[in-house]
């Protein structure tokens, strides 16, 4: 799995091609449309992160090699496009990497406004939740070592 710094730099490079916001948003919307749908069974309240403006569903599971696999969805397509980017960076990484991830690409591609708490679109809570999964899975591993 690629290093999360490299993936983020790759995204920044891709976005540097866009000269105006319109192209950027068209790209994000396309990402949103192509994000693999979350398993309908995972669209349960337990996985729901309620924003005031849009909602996010996030599911995390442990893979056999100890990585974390995320799937997510949103009712708003721009939110979903940004989710696709977050998943591209954090999916199938180790719990340690996820727990300590520094997501510098958001700012660099000019999407910080979407991850501001005042937007209330569920994304801030989603990132927090992803990291919490990292921490929780980390703790699980640590605990299992002692079994």
């Amino acid at each position: 799995m690629a290093d999360i710094k490299d993936i983020q730099n790759e995204i920044i490079d891709e976005f540097s091609l866009f000269s105006e916001w319109m192209e950027k948003y068209e790209y994000i919307i396309d990402l949103g449309k192509s994000l693999p749908m979350i398993d309908p069974k995972a669209k349960v309240d337990n996985n729901l992160i309620k924003g005031c403006q849009s909602q996010v569903w996030l599911q995390a599971e442990r893979t056999e090699n100890g990585k974390v696999h995320f799937t997510a969805d949103s009712d708003a397509i721009i939110t979903k496009g940004i989710i696709a980017l977050l998943i591209r960076v954090l999916d199938r990484q180790t719990p340690e990497t996820i727990a300590h991830a520094e997501l510098f690409f958001i700012e660099a591609i000019g999407l910080r406004e979407h991850l501001s708490p005042t937007r209330s679109n569920g994304l801030v809570s989603m990132v927090k939740q992803m990291k919490l999964y990292g921490i929780a899975f980390q703790a699980q591993t640590g605990w299992k070592k002692h079994l």
Binding site: M22, E26, Q53, I78, T79
Partner: protein, 410 residues
């Protein structure tokens, strides 16, 4: 009457400094007046002048400035009395805003007049601020909250209202104009019906006073509430109008300075109206600014404002309904200049984001009307809410922006 000759938009826009701003490289099209309107220079200047030249505490000094500040503050109250045509200045209380005004009534009226099994009647189109305070006092008192339903077109169901009024109803609390649907409720007739049973009525006028002349004596309403910031005045200040005989019977809201006549550790006697309900140092600059906003609106004239805004609403409705998949939420015949809508296959948040990129400010989401959204089975709407300084050119930009958003999103 030709409206365009009555209201000179280009000159009016010059009164509002913020309208000259650019947002995301476009001239600002501010269509979120329902959330908060902008202030004319007259209001900003009045506040500035007060702080630069006139500030002192009110109602408590012998010195010149205190006297002057008190006079200016009380003149503002008088201005607001005229604005809503109340019978007396002391029926016009300064509060922090609509929310504060409603909480005051729910608390003070509720403490005095509510008993277990009593009912408060609200409607399904209330802002959260006219639901939650009543829920809280009902819970405390063992009283029940009853709700008048809303029909598909966004009007209240008149028959249901008549049926819900009964001998246990202690108060009707409802909005004059819906912030989401734009519906102007037939409040005068509804008040008359409640009064046949001696039930007092509180109106939430937050969305009415920016758009139409309100005459509390003509309405015969018992309590009327509104916010400064939605009527082109300051934030943090608003009004509670209450009929004298109700205000007299209600216990004070908060204790403190200003609201007392005499204080000893054994017993405190309360000040006369309106001060009984105005504990502590008030938002003096806010009150003065609000008085100025009322003066500004009256000078412009509500006949002119209504006629022009009606024209804007008709124009916007016609323009926007051309978009395919457009669903208007709120189609009552009698509406204020508010347009709430959804477009098939798009989420309000996405449309709002793209409009923002085009310099167009609208609101998206549930507008603090969650039960109403549930009623219509929708997550939220896109809401464009107009003021007299908006133009048809801005509506053209809105319509074009919506088309563009739909093309991008679908």
């Amino acid at each position: 009457m030709n409206v365009r000759t009555m209201i000179d938009i280009e000159n009016i826009r010059k009164d509002f400094p913020i309208l000259k701003r650019e947002v995301n490289g476009y001239p600002l099209a501010y269509l979120d007046n329902g959330a908060s309107a902008q202030r004319p220079a007259a209001v900003i200047d009045a506040i500035g002048h007060y702080y630069r030249m006139e500030h002192a505490n009110v109602h408590r000094g012998v010195h010149f400035l205190s006297q002057e500040a008190t006079r200016r503050y009380e003149e503002a109250r008088e201005q607001l009395r005229v604005f809503i045509n109340a019978a007396h200045d002391h029926e016009v209380l300064f509060t922090k805003g609509t929310t504060d005004s409603i909480n005051l009534v729910a608390n003070c009226f509720g403490r005095k007049f509510l008993a277990p099994g009593d009912e408060i009647l609200i409607t399904a189109m209330e802002h959260h601020s006219n639901i939650v305070p009543w829920q809280m006092i009902c819970e405390e008192k063992g009283a029940l909250l009853k709700v008048v339903p809303v029909a598909d077109n966004g009007e209240l169901e008149a028959d249901a209202y008549a049926q819900l009024l009964n001998s246990r109803t202690r108060m009707v609390a409802m909005t004059h104009v819906s912030n989401t649907l734009g519906t102007i409720n037939p409040v005068k007739a509804m008040i008359a019906l409640a009064h046949e049973r001696n039930i007092p009525v509180l109106l939430d006028g937050a969305q009415a006073v920016p758009h139409m002349a309100v005459d509390v004596q003509d309405l015969d309403v018992d309590f009327y509430t509104f916010s400064g910031h939605k009527m082109f005045g300051p934030t943090g200040v608003g009004i509670l109008y209450g009929k004298e005989h109700w205000l007299r019977q209600m216990p004070p809201y908060q204790g403190g300075g200003n609201m007392i006549k005499t204080v000893s550790f054994e017993k405190t006697t309360y000040n006369t109206l309106p001060h009984k309900f105005e504990a502590g140092t008030p938002h003096i600059a806010g009150g003065i600014g609000l008085g100025e906003a009322a003066r500004y609106l009256m000078q412009l004239g509500f006949d002119n404002i209504r006629a022009y805004e009606h024209e804007l609403l008709e124009y916007a409705t016609e323009k926007l309904t051309k978009t395919e998949g457009m669903r208007l939420i709120g189609t009552a015949p009698n509406k204020a200049a508010v347009l709430s809508f959804l477009i098939d296959g798009t989420h309000p948040y996405d449309v709002g984001m793209i409009l923002d990129k085009l310099g167009i400010a609208v609101r998206t989401g549930h507008h603090c009307n969650q039960p109403l959204m549930d009623r219509f089975g929708i997550p939220g709407t896109i809401r464009a809410s107009f003021a007299f300084y908006n133009t048809k050119a801005e509506i053209d930009r809105l319509a074009a922006g919506v088309e563009r958003a739909v093309t991008m999103l679908q």
